[in-house]
């Protein structure tokens, strides 16, 4: 009788410990999932904010802006002068990345040569008068749509 009782006691202790371990595991998994969602959201916000700010800053800094087809990829071409020399920066999407390629206008480069900036699927560009429309599709979330006034297009207000 005593042996049976001690066995039941041992079994009960084991069950309580198992239950405790399962609850602990559940709390850890829930916390990990919550942390993962938080970091994913933070990542998405960072990508959207940085991409929008980057395109805006680059267009505003450029001396002249035009669109071109860069080996089949729509590219934003930003012109500037440095030390008396004319340079261009091409901004485009290739291989799942928003890229930037700084070079001389006559430089022979391919889309793979651009420096990777942010993960993005595609960049769609269009010009309507003095406005530049850009739609950037990121890996997650809705696409970013920007309308920017092209440099040198502002008319003087009398």
């Amino acid at each position: 009788m005593k042996q049976t009782e001690s066995r039941w006691t041992a079994l009960l202790c084991l069950l309580v410990f198992t239950l405790f371990a399962l609850c602990l595991l559940l709390v850890l998994l829930t916390g990990a999932e919550g942390y993962r969602l938080l970091t994913d959201r933070g990542e998405e916000h960072y990508a959207r904010r940085t991409a929008a700010r980057y395109l805006t800053t680059r267009v505003r800094q450029a001396e002249a802006v035009h669109l071109e087809d860069f080996s089949g990829y729509p590219a934003l071409v930003l012109e500037e002068t440095a030390e008396g020399e004319r340079y261009i920066t091409r901004v485009y999407c290739h291989g799942g990345w928003l890229r930037e390629l700084y070079s001389l206008p006559e430089g022979a480069f391919s889309p793979e040569d651009g420096e990777k900036l942010l993960e993005a699927d595609s960049l769609t560009l269009k010009q309507e008068g003095s406005l530049l429309g850009a739609e950037l599709s990121l890996r997650s979330g809705e696409p970013i749509v920007l309308w920017l006034e092209l440099p040198g297009e502002k008319e003087a207000i009398p």
Binding site: Y46, R49, T50, A51, R53, T57, T89, Y102, E115
Partner: protein
């Protein structure tokens, strides 16, 4: 009795080895995270200001970057203001004399 003692020693040794290995893994993960944070912050600076940050101190002062200097050393080399700097993070060894 001897068997139990031997078994206990093996379990303790395995436990201590696992803990020390975990510490190494954590520091390597921290190194990768710091390197990623540096690149992301540098890119955020480039997006906002049109130029990559000139130094790590600039990121600390203006973009709130923080890291434990006793655990990590950052190698930050700027080639041009419009090119991503060469960033390498090294884990400091904590050897006791």
């Amino acid at each position: 009795m001897k068997h139990k003692l031997f078994l206990t020693l093996i379990v303790l040794t395995a436990l201590l080895l696992s803990i020390s290995r975990l510490d190494g893994t954590q520091r390597e993960t921290g190194r990768q995270q710091l390197e990623q944070a540096l690149r992301r912050t540098a890119l955020a600076c480039y997006a906002a200001e049109g130029a990559y940050p000139p130094s790590v101190e600039y990121l600390e002062r203006h973009y709130g970057l923080q890291y434990d200097r006793s655990d990590y050393t950052i190698h930050y080399m700027v080639s041009a203001s419009n090119l991503m700097p060469d960033i390498t993070v090294l884990v400091n060894s904590h050897e006791t004399d």
